[in-house]
Symmetry: C2
């Protein structure tokens, strides 16, 4: 149980983020909110997830740890965590909710329509677009909602023969 506050990751799975998960419990308490087994499971799943997951995926993964997991609880907890600034959500190319965890730095997403893989677009990569939108239109881009689809190198190569 790495999200619990206990030593964490003695099993070899390195904790993705040094700080953050241990404090969740306290941050909940600080707001008069509660630390429940269901929340522990979700936090644990989130701490293992690598960037972005759909709501449905999270539910599925929680069920692996606790088969009695129920959607409403997961979504409600995600809401709370979003309030705490611990997760953020956007919408993927297929239109499903996509949560990303611990948005240390804002970033967008790059989706390959071939292999369905996803990568992150950081501030540096998006700088030109952000600047252009700002200058041309006075539009402030929210990087965490930037979604770009296309074909990745591998898929392009594969389809080219």
């Amino acid at each position: 149980m790495s999200a619990d506050g206990s030593p964490a990751a003695a099993d070899g799975t390195t904790p993705r983020t040094a700080a953050g998960w241990e404090g969740v419990r306290d941050r909940l308490h600080a707001r008069g909110l509660r630390w429940t087994p269901q929340r522990r499971v979700l936090i644990d799943v989130l701490s293992r997830s690598d960037g972005h997951v759909t709501g449905a995926e999270l539910i599925e993964r929680c069920r692996e740890a606790d088969p009695s997991t129920v959607p409403s609880t997961v979504y409600r907890t995600l809401d709370v965590l979003e309030d705490l600034g611990i997760v953020r959500h956007a919408h993927g190319v297929d239109g499903r909710e996509e949560f990303h965890v611990l948005p240390v730095s804002d970033h967008g997403h790059l989706h390959c329509t071939g292999c369905r893989q996803t990568w992150e677009i950081d501030e540096g990569e998006a700088r030109a677009l952000v600047a252009a939108m700002r200058e041309d239109r006075g539009f402030r881009v929210d990087l965490s909602h930037l979604s770009v689809a296309g074909v990745c190198r591998e898929c392009a190569a594969a389809s080219a023969g």
Copy 2:
């Protein structure tokens, strides 16, 4: 009835696109597909729409012309039209299907989370991003699936006081 083949837009609403809509009927016939009243209504609605609409919006607008419009027919016709290359669909920030008509040039979408307005991003504006993705990652961006959210000038000003 502007999509019908008849003179069109005698009422003052200028036809958005000179070519394209008149030929739909023929293009359908050329494939052994049929020209039905329901399709005429949808085509008519599309011919009046300015760029991008959700499926639900299209249904609503079709119902204005023909209250007996039914969702399945609309979606099925949109499928056919997409096959013909007459519409394209992507997903908006809120995750709903978003159709854009006659994609003469590929373009992405800019969504304001304040006023919910949408603008188009053309190739020129996206060039830097497209180039960066291509160079850094070998990723070919599909402009028609580019979705950028943020706050427009007006909303930024409004919220700033």
